[in-house]
């Protein structure tokens, strides 16, 4: 029993931490509210440390029951995938909290709740990464979403922020309806909400005499699966539920945008991976869903990259960029043999670093200039070499320029698409989009370095932000020199899941 409780230790710590932060906020005098940031960081760090608790418990415990990796009647999986993602989520939260401190402290209203809601959102992400049945999936996802409604509308004094919250609410409700309808159809045709049981019902079975029985997949199951993939597309910002992304990214307070662009998106992706792996138990359904996702991936790639071209506002551009990155990840998951899924995990890890580095710079610059226009980033390198350098590195990594981690991520993902001959068109779209993306990312880099700043005053970032940026930059370069440090746990996590949708009938062709 003790072993079982240890499996959920990170979530328990986060829940307790959120409540303690809320109570602490009540006791703190207004001039000391800045301390709440460190409280939130401490809670996230404790949860990060606690992700190692199941490993320790497994080593220490003698009885096999305690070593089980699935908790609470199969509702919650503590496996390689969930632990990998939990660590990413905790690191995301720590980076966001540290770099967002100044912006949040400057909010005119209700600063304390930002941290509490941030920790609750983190708890929701942790629960998402382990969700192993549709009920848990839905309530965990909504926990993240509801927290982000409030975080996006947090600047009540700014109409754009309120509008962002409202848009998130409307689109979130629409996607929740799609998701629930899909879940209902799947429940109707299988009679269960547990992923393991659904996979068992749709997987081909060998009879004792050796013949293989392939269960027929009813049409409502296919429609249900497609609706679930669509509904999760709201979180991952995939077409067609992407319409909120640019407006909300631009309108929400920048700390919220940073958190939303990484945490909320990856929460959608971990659920997508788990659900797609489950559908893949049936080769027929797996192939259909993979084909469906590859179409979504292609459209998302084109929409995000072409939409980013005319943007003049950096936060809005990051919104389109986020849609584009979703396209690459979807392409990898749709290509869907082991390499596709594990490269998706690798890309998620690099995405945390590069996107949060970019947003940390955006927060520091906008605190000095009060603007998010790309024009105001002209000559940033002269106003603050450190911030200019960090933003350059993040953008180059997002563009997929070779010496950085983002390059390997894109290389692996598109390699996965290349490995499936029938997805060659998706591979071509991906390559074309890399070229388009180079243009809009590099034109910002050019402005940072070669244009004269309109105002020459120096921009100073707090030391904790510069230290964080330095650490992230080291990881982005280090992850490119030693990709195996991330690739190995990612591959192990995917292998542990065991089921892959539409496994290619022929072995994938090798990359030259």
């Amino acid at each position: 029993m003790t072993g079982n409780v240890l499996l959920m230790l990170p979530e328990i710590l986060l829940g307790a931490g959120a409540v303690l932060l809320l109570l602490w906020d009540l006791r703190l005098p207004a001039e000391k509210k800045g301390l709440l940031c460190w409280g939130a960081v401490a809670v996230a760090a404790a949860a990060l440390a606690a992700t190692w608790a199941p490993d320790i418990a497994r080593t220490l415990s003698a009885s096999p029951a305690d070593a089980a990796s699935v908790f609470a009647h199969e509702s919650f999986a503590v496996d390689g995938l969930s632990v990998f993602l939990k660590r990413l989520f905790a690191i995301t939260a720590i980076l966001v909290f540290i770099t967002a401190k100044d912006s949040v402290d400057a909010f005119p209203n209700a600063r304390g709740e930002w941290w509490t809601l941030g920790v609750i959102a983190l708890l929701g992400m942790f629960l998402c990464s382990g969700a192993n049945d549709f009920m848990t999936l839905f309530v965990s996802l909504e926990t993240v979403t509801v927290a982000f409604f409030a975080l996006a509308a947090f600047r009540r004094d700014k109409p754009a922020s309120v509008e962002a919250g409202l848009k998130l609410l409307v689109m979130g409700s629409l996607s929740a309806a799609l998701l629930l309808y899909g879940i209902a159809l799947i429940y109707g045709s299988t009679g269960t909400v547990f992923f393991s049981e659904i996979a068992g019902k749709i997987a081909p079975r060998a009879l004792p005499d050796g013949t293989l029985v392939v269960p027929a997949i009813p049409a409502e199951m296919v429609v249900g699966a497609a609706l679930v993939v669509l509904g999760l597309g709201f979180k991952t910002s995939a077409v067609p539920l992407h319409v909120w992304v640019p407006d909300v990214y631009q309108g929400a307070p920048t700390p919220t945008t940073a958190y939303l662009s990484v945490g909320s998106k990856l929460a959608g992706f971990v659920l997508l991976i788990r659900v797609v792996a489950m559908f893949g138990a049936s080769p027929e359904l797996g192939a259909q869903i993979a084909a469906f996702m590859s179409v979504i991936a292609g459209v998302t790639l084109l929409y995000g990259n072409l939409g980013a071209l005319p943007q003049t506002n950096l936060k809005r551009l990051m919104g389109y960029s986020s849609i584009a990155q979703c396209g690459y990840l979807m392409a990898g998951i749709a290509a869907s043999w082991e390499a596709g899924m594990s490269s998706a995990l690798f890309y998620m890890a690099s995405y945390v670093g590069m996107n949060l580095a970019a947003f940390a710079v955006i927060m520091s610059v906008s605190r000095a200039t009060g603007s998010h226009e790309i024009d105001d980033y002209s000559g940033l390198a002269r106003r603050s070499p450190m911030l200019g350098m960090a933003l350059t590195l993040a953008l180059l990594s997002l563009a997929g320029v070779p010496p950085f981690m983002g390059f390997f991520g894109k290389f692996f993902l598109l390699g996965a698409a290349y490995g499936r001959p029938e997805l060659f068109w998706l591979f071509l779209i991906g390559i074309a989009c890399v070229v388009v993306a180079l243009y809009y990312y590099l034109s910002i880099v050019r402005r940072i370095w070669s244009e004269e700043p309109r105002i020459r005053t120096e921009i100073r970032a707090p030391r904790r932000v510069t230290l964080t940026l330095a650490a992230v930059s080291v990881v982005l370069i280090g992850g490119a020199i030693l990709p195996n440090l991330v690739q190995a746990p990612a591959t192990a996590a995917v292998k542990q899941m065991g089921v892959f949708p539409g496994k290619p009938p022929v072995p994938p062709r090798a990359l030259r």
Binding site: F71, H73, N109, A110, T116, I120, D133, V139, A150, L151
Partner: protein
């Protein structure tokens, strides 16, 4: 299900429904709808579906009606503000739609096996072996065993909603 509760519930539901669609005051209409829901809840209770009966009151008569009232108040819907529907085409279309819906519902009801089967407790128990459908205990059994984790996560979800709504409304900006 005894006759008294059927007539009580049925008449309340039908009266409430009719009054709800004929009122000119939107708030009065909503209040009559609450009456209709209470009547339906009695019908569910009479059919031994206690859980659905209670949910009917909590969710429909409680939460959803409050939402309706909020919307009416936000839109400032007064009787004078509502244009009278005098166009005969609209009236005919409305009657046709209501008639079609009634026909479909009757067809489905008559076609369903429940129409011809014996609905007494003894007959149901003889067919299915148990008589737990819709009973609160059956729901609680699943909710507090198989689905305990999502049930508990709901409390976190509600906490997020409460903290969020307080943060968005409490102080003057």
């Amino acid at each position: 299900m005894d006759d008294a509760s059927f007539w009580l519930g049925g008449l309340t539901a039908v009266t409430g429904g009719l009054m709800a669609v004929t009122r000119r005051n939107a708030v009065a209409s909503v209040m009559w709808l609450v009456g209709a829901f209470l009547g339906m809840s009695v019908l569910f209770l009479g059919m031994d579906a206690g859980f659905i009966g209670v949910i009917q009151v909590l969710v429909y008569a409680g939460a959803i009606m409050v939402l309706f009232l909020f919307v009416i108040m936000l839109l400032k819907l007064t009787p004078a503000g509502l244009a009278r529907v005098d166009r005969p085409k609209m009236t005919i279309a409305g009657i046709l739609a209501a008639g079609a819906l009634t026909a479909i519902l009757c067809a489905v009801a008559v076609a369903s096996p429940a129409w011809t089967r014996d609905g007494t407790d003894a007959a149901i128990r003889a067919r299915t072996g148990t008589l737990v459908q819709g009973r609160t205990a059956a729901v609680a059994d699943r909710l507090f065993s198989d689905h305990l984790l999502p049930f508990e996560i709901t409390s976190v979800l509600l906490l997020a909603a409460i903290v969020g709504s307080v943060a968005l409304t409490k102080r003057k900006v």
